[in-house]
Structure formats: C-alpha cells, structure tokens
Subunit: 508 residues, 2 copies
C-alpha cells in the first residue's frame, strides 16, 4: 500500500484499539459483576458500564472514522478479499453503518424498554401470568420493528435484525433450513419417544460433590486444549465465556450437586467458545476483526466440543475410566457403553436450555417462527401463549402445562433481541458441517479422540476457522472451509446416524 | 447559586463523573490483575489500563474543565469553605493545576523510567547487588527533581512532591515532626530492647490453618463495621484496599500459615481503609471529593483500627475467648493478658513492612531524610547504602547485614515516588491524635470495645472524618476535629504509656 494509506490505516487502528480497550474494560466489569461483585455495587457498576459503552460508541461512530473508511475503501479495493487490510475496512464499515443507522433516541428507547420490561417479565414468570408481561412485549415488538426500519431491509424486516448477528444471512435462507430440519427431526423425535426406555440415565442424577465436578471438568477441558495460562474458570448463576484479548479468555460454570451433566458439559461447551477466542490471530488484535465470526459460528465451536466430541463414543472410551475413578460410588456398576448412552439420552422437554441434542433445534424453530410472525404483525402478542403451546405440541409432541415453562421461559424477549435465537441452531448445523470436513481431512479422528489426543482437531479448527476472527461471514466461512453452502444436511445425517444407533431405530 | 452557576456546576459534575467512572473501571481492572487475572493477561491489561488512564487524564485536563473552574471560582467565593460546591471547585482546581503543570513528555518519561527500572531493582534485590540498580535510581532521582521543578515550590523541592500526596504539608513541618519523633522514640526503642524478654510471642508463630485465619478475621472485621454488602475480601500477594464507589469497597489479604499476625492484623488494617471509603458521603460521589483526604489520613484509619483498637487490651478482653476457641491447640495455656502482650511485642527489625508500632516511624524517618538528601543533591545515589546502614544503626540500634534487607527493600524507589513515605508516619500520628479526641468525646470507649461494641466509634469517625472525603487538607482536618495542629505529641504519649506499661519501663 501507498505510504498515505498505511498512515490512514494506522490512524484507524489506533482509534479501533481505543474502542476495543474500552469494550474489553466493560467486559471485565461485566465478568466481575457476574462472579464476585458485592450486591451494593450494582448502581455504581451501571454508571461505569454506561460511561464505557457511551465513550466506545461515540469514538467509533465519529466522523473521523467515517472519513478514514471512505478514504481507505478505495485504497484496499485492489487487495485480496481475505487480506487483513481489506477485511478490516470491510468489517469495520459494516459495523459502522449499523451503528450510525440507529438514531440515538431509538438506542435510548431500546435500553430503557429492556430495563423497564425485565422486572415485569420476572414477575410474570414467577406468577405464571403472561398478561403482566404482554404490554412490555408489545412495546418490544414495536421497537424491534422500529429497529428493523432504521437498519433497512429489502424484503423481510427480520432480515435487518438477523444481519445484526449473522451477517448476510436472510430470513428466506433460515426458513429453508428450518423447514428441512422440521421435516427431518419431528418424526425422529417421535421415533425416539417410542423407544424412550432404551436408555437409562438415572445414575447421572446422583450426588456429585461440586468441587470434584469442577476439578474433573477442568482437567478434561485443559486436555481438550483450553489454555489456562490465558484463561480461568469461575462460578456464576448463568454460565458464560468472555474474552478480554488473546491472553485472557475466561469461562464460568454452574453446578448441580445432583446431576452430572450441568457442570461437565457446561464446562466443555464454554471451553469450546474459549478455544475459539484463544485461536484468533494476534495480528488482528484490538480491531473489530478480533472476535468470533458471529454468535452462530461461535456456537458451532461450543456445540462441536460439547456434543460432536464430548458426547461421542470415542470420547468416553478415553475418559470413562477417569470419570469412574473420580466418582466411584456414583458410577459403580456402570460401564463405558452405558455412560455414553446415558449422556445422550434424548427426550422432548419443555425448557430450551435443558433440551438435548435432537430436540434443541425444534425449540429454536418455534421461536424463529413466532418472532417473525409477531414482527410482521401476523401474530398478536396476546395470542402468543396459545400459538406457542399449539406449535410446541405439534413439534415436540408434548403439552405445555403453563406459560412459565412456555412462552415466558426465556429472558430474551424481555429486551429488544429478535434475531438472536437462530444462532443457536446455526451453531449446531455449522458444527456438524465442519465436522464432516474434519473427518475427511483427519481420517483417524476417532482413534485420536479415543487416545485422548485433541491437538490435531484443535489445530484444524485454528487453521481453518479460529484464526480468521470476523474476517468472513458465516456463509463465506462454510464455502471456504467445506466447499458447500451453510445447510442442515450434515447435522441431519449426523443425528439420524447417532440416535438411530442409540435407540435402535434402524430396526424399526 | 444563580441558575447559570448551577448549570455550570452540573456540567462540571458531568465531566467529573465520566472521569471518575473511567478511573473506577481502571481500579476494577487493577483489582482483577492482583487477584484473578491469568498470567497471559498482562500485555492486554496494560493496554486497557493505559487507554483508560489516558482518556481520564485528557478529559480532566481539557480546556473546558479549566473554563468551568474559572467561571465557578468567582461564583462559589461567597459560599462557606466547607460547602460541597466550594470544596468541589477548590479541590478540583488543585488537582487540575497539578495535572496541567506536568508536561506530557515528563509524564511519559516517568512512566517509562518506572517500567524500565522495576526489573533492575528486582534483580539487584535478588542478587543483593546495589550497583545494578544505582543508575536507574539516579535517573529516578533526576525525574523526581524535574517533577518538583515542573510543579513549582517556594523553598524546598520536596515541598512540591509532598503536596502531591499530602496537600499543604511542608517539608519544614515534616522535619519538625520527625525531629520530635526521633528524640522521643530512639531512647524508647533502646529501653525496650533492654527488656526484650518481657514479652514472649512464640505461640503466635505456630500452624494456623489459612481458611480459619481468614474466616475468623472476617468475622472480626464485620463486627468492627466493615459492610460486606458493599465489600468483599480476596487473596493477593500484597494486601490492599480498593474502592469503586460507595457500594463496592474491597480488601485483599495475604496469609502466613505459620504466623497469626499477618492475616489477622492485615485484615483489620485494610478494613480500616475500607470503612473510611464506606463512610464518605454519597452526596459527593463521582467527584474528586469522593476519596480519602490523603494517603496519610487514609493510613490513620487503617492504623487506628489495627493498632489503637486491634492491639488494645479491651479489644482482646472481648475477642480472646473466640480466637482461643477458633485455635484451641495453638492457644492452649495462653491467657488474654499473654495474648495482648504477644501481639504487641516490639523489637527493632530490618524490614519496614514487618516493623512494630514503636519502631515503624523510625523506618519512615530514615527514608524521609534520605529522599530529601538525594533530591537536594546532598547525598549521591552511590553512597546511599552506606548512609542507610549508618542511620539504621543510629536509630534502630542494629547492623544492616546486606542491601537486600537495607536500601533495596522497598519497591517505591524503583519508580518516581519521593514524598509517599511520610504518609505512613502521618497515619500513625493522625490516628493517635484523633483517638485522643475520641476518648474525650466517648469516655467509656474502652468499656464499649471490651463489650464488642464498635458502632459508636465508627459513627464518630464517620461524622467527624469519613463523610467529608477530600473536602479538607490533613492540617484542616486536624484543626477542625481536634482543635490542634497536626503533631506528634498524641502518638508519643500513647506509645510511651502503652509500651512503658508492657515492658515495665516505668520501673527503670
């Protein structure tokens, strides 16, 4: 590049580094709030967070950044799409446009509406009384619509919202994917339901000492490749992963003293997120490129490690002896095969966050449809519980006994957040699609996993996915890495094969 | 005030709130770094801190703040000195002047010199080789001089530096105080040395389970009045107190598994700091007034609780039964009187941070004299160890066997920090001077302490000192609260009385 370009690029990076530092400081404060902050800290912390976010926003949407992007866009046009310079300008422009399109008063309305609605959602859920929350949800639907209008869209308002999270994905693409999932999975779920007693997981519901659960889980995830020189683990009410840069990516966990899966698979899941962050190239540190490509792609990494690795047979061939010797009383008389089967028990259930691998996507399908229908005015908020329950029965075959375990269960709709849910399903699909390619490139993957060797898999993910950060959109990544568009096929084949075998469905 | 004034004041407070939030965010990041941050986080954290401090500084020294202060100074002139408005403008102006007087390149030189010198100081100390550190100390002395010149002073360069920490105190005032201390304490120390075997504290050097030490210490400090709804305790290599606002003031501790005093008195000390912060009026939150009046005044609160309360006979009349039942094996055969005597054992020692109540100020006197002599060119850096050792012998009566335990022991001189040390002694003196007034106002203080009632003492400190934050200088505070200038008399009378009794010196 010409000297002038590199000077402008340096200036842009300087501003972006400042914005990144402010955002990372805010993330440290958020982590502290969820783990250690005393109750009295709430008010002061809200002020500190508000100041950090405001300063980061003001700096980022400044005219100076706009001018630098204008100048640099012409200059990087001749560089390859995947060069760091072209990617930086392209992705920064995308973020910039999104942020400047939303007027300040709408940003404030959205923040205020979320803060106002939250306690009413909590009360509605506690009291199992949807009508307490309905007026606030109506307001939030309206704000989702105003947000979509501000961002702009060609065909469907949901396009604008999904683009905030999963760049370049469309409502139409998602509808096609979900239709395919629905067709494949609804019958699989009912097949499994008819063979429910094929798997017994009662021994997982026993007393597991919390400290031992964490200690064992952390041993496993460090073996998978989560680097604790650049990370740590703490306890929080809701598990999460957070990163303050290449050298500091943390996870939290919660523990059920009476159920093995919560802590263990939670740790593997969050470590999947953390290993993604730990693998992003330091070359793009302190820029908008230094993060996961999207929530969906991020979720592909947590779900890949949690399910495609952590709930696989070779994984438990390796780890069963150690988990059994860690919990000898609880796992007396259990064998490796029985343990593998138990951690994969599938059964339709009411609550998304407790859903198993097969049924999970149906919970998302339902929310995706309902969000779209509310956004497009086809479903009135007051009719949401009825629509929820009817669709739940049709997809998962069970009756929803109350709104607390139905339409009121998720915190998401207490804020303006339409478009987030599909990321969970995209994560499952992308994970399976990547794994298909991994298996082609590493033919003895299962033997490696059975031997407790995870370095080749992690190296593959680093090379093909992690290092790139936000350089590419989810669709671009799938094309680049797998040579195919993002689709449901790999995941459908995977669950049919795995759960067909587990539940003896091929014999039907 | 006129409407225009209140508008300007509102604007000033808005800017100061932003600066405060940035500084508090930096403090959270610092706390995290000292307690939980993984090793890999160092580099990124340095960048985040640098950004936060830079943004806070730039915002604070802006012309806008200068203009607002100019405008407001005339307007608040008619308000009482202790009004919140007049105090805010006065103290903000003082901070502002100090910050704008120091040129950016000097600020950078100071930051760089500290970062450069630190590893050489560490190596010099490890290798017990002063000459490795000498060139860096020379540089730091020169930078202390440049800093004093930039800040300006009438008579002595040290005046400019001490004013950074202890506003309005002068070198002359400190010299008079230290001369009085020296005259009184040097003979007391040698008297005590001749009666060294009057106190046996060997039982304090036993195995005390770390978790129990912390648990017991935290029980005690919450009883003293440290509010854990607005605070918490963690472990760190060097104990400290830090505050992110009225609702969140934290302490850390370190534990020696083989010595009772470190954790226990460390917790009481840091809680003394924390209770000060927790007592500052919320009215002045998010302004430069919301902090302790000075490091010296802050230290008065930690030392008052640690020594004047925590090492008093009534205190152990109350707590001895519980400490004995917490550590029954270690304290078998010990009685309340013996315990009280043991925690007060005084003996000249090499290391400041381990020094007892009597000898501590002599360690500071030595440093105050040497800093001044180096600053004024009367002592060459290469001659520092010799001067240190000679003076140590003269004040404390012991030979310094090596520079590691002599002139190289403190981290302070690895940075540009002349003027900080006197605050430790001021803390001792102010604590004793306040306590004299407390005893006049609360005649049955000892009976209250013996009954485990600390609320009246804390309420007195809140009302007379804590609530005011930085409104007043140390000298102003002493005049306001005790009706006397800051002086050594109360502390000298206190140690003579207490240690005279403990060591039977009145019988000499």
């Amino acid at each position: 590049m010409a000297g002038n370009t590199s000077g402008k690029l340096r200036k842009l990076r300087e501003i972006l580094a400042e914005v990144t530092d402010l955002s990372r400081a805010a993330a440290v404060l958020e982590w502290d709030q969820e783990t250690y902050m005393p109750p009295g800290g709430v008010e002061g912390r809200a002020e500190q967070q508000s100041t950090l976010h405001r300063l980061a926003h003001v700096r980022f949407v400044s005219d100076e950044v706009g001018r630098l992007l204008d100048d640099l866009e012409g200059e990087v046009a001749s560089l390859p799409h995947d060069s760091y310079e072209a990617s930086l300008v392209r992705v920064t422009r995308r973020d910039y446009q999104q942020q400047i399109k939303v007027p300040t008063d709408l940003v404030e309305d959205i923040a205020r509406a979320g803060a106002t609605a939250r306690p009413f959602w909590e009360k509605a859920r506690t009291d199992n009384e949807f009508s307490l929350f309905a007026p606030y949800l109506e307001k939030n639907v309206e704000l989702n619509r105003r947000l979509a209008d501000a961002l702009g869209y060609e065909k469907r308002p949901y396009d604008a919202l999904i683009d905030l999270y999963e760049p370049a994905l469309t409502t139409r693409q998602l509808e096609a994917i979900f239709a395919e999932l629905r067709t494949a999975i609804v019958p699989l779920v009912s097949d499994i339901a008819r063979h429910a007693d094929a798997i017994d997981d009662r021994f997982l519901h026993a007393d597991f000492a919390p400290e031992l659960q964490v200690k064992y889980g952390m041993q496993v995830v460090t073996q998978l490749g989560y680097d604790l020189e650049r990370g740590r683990q703490d306890i929080s009410a809701h598990p999460f992963e957070t990163s303050f840069g290449p050298g500091d990516t943390r996870i939290t966990t919660r523990i059920s003293p009476g159920f093995f899966n919560m802590c263990f698979f939670g740790l593997v899941h969050e470590s999947g997120h953390a290993m993604y962050q730990q693998g992003i190239s330091e070359e793009i540190d302190r820029t908008p490129l230094w993060d996961g490509a999207s929530p969906g792609v991020h979720e592909s990494q947590s779900r890949l490690w949690e399910n495609l690795v952590g709930r696989s047979q070779p994984f438990w061939r390796h780890f069963f002896p150690s988990v059994q010797s860690t919990f000898p009383a609880q796992l007396r008389g259990v064998d490796e095969e029985g343990f593998y089967r138990a951690v994969n028990k599938s059964h339709p259930s009411l609550i998304r966050v407790e859903a198993d691998e097969v049924t999970y996507n149906l919970h998302i399908l339902l929310r995706f449809e309902l969000e779209n229908e509310m956004l497009e005015g086809k479903l009135k908020v007051k009719d949401l519980p009825e629509a929820w329950n009817a669709r739940f029965k049709s997809y998962l075959g069970i009756d929803v006994p109350n709104d607390r375990d139905g339409a009121l269960q998720d915190i998401h709709w207490s804020g303006v957040s339409f478009g987030i849910f599909p990321g969970y399903t995209l994560g499952n699909l992308i994970g399976a699609q990547l794994m298909e390619k991994v298996r082609a490139d590493i033919p003895d993957l299962d033997a490696q996993i059975e031997a407790g060797e995870f370095a080749p898999l992690l190296a593959w993910l680093r090379k093909n996915l992690h290092q790139h950060g936000r350089k590419f959109t989810p669709n671009e990544l799938m094309e680049r890495i797998t040579g195919k568009p993002l689709a449901a096929a790999a995941w459908i084949a995977y669950v049919r094969r795995k759960f067909g075998a587990l539940y003896g469905l091929e014999k039907d």
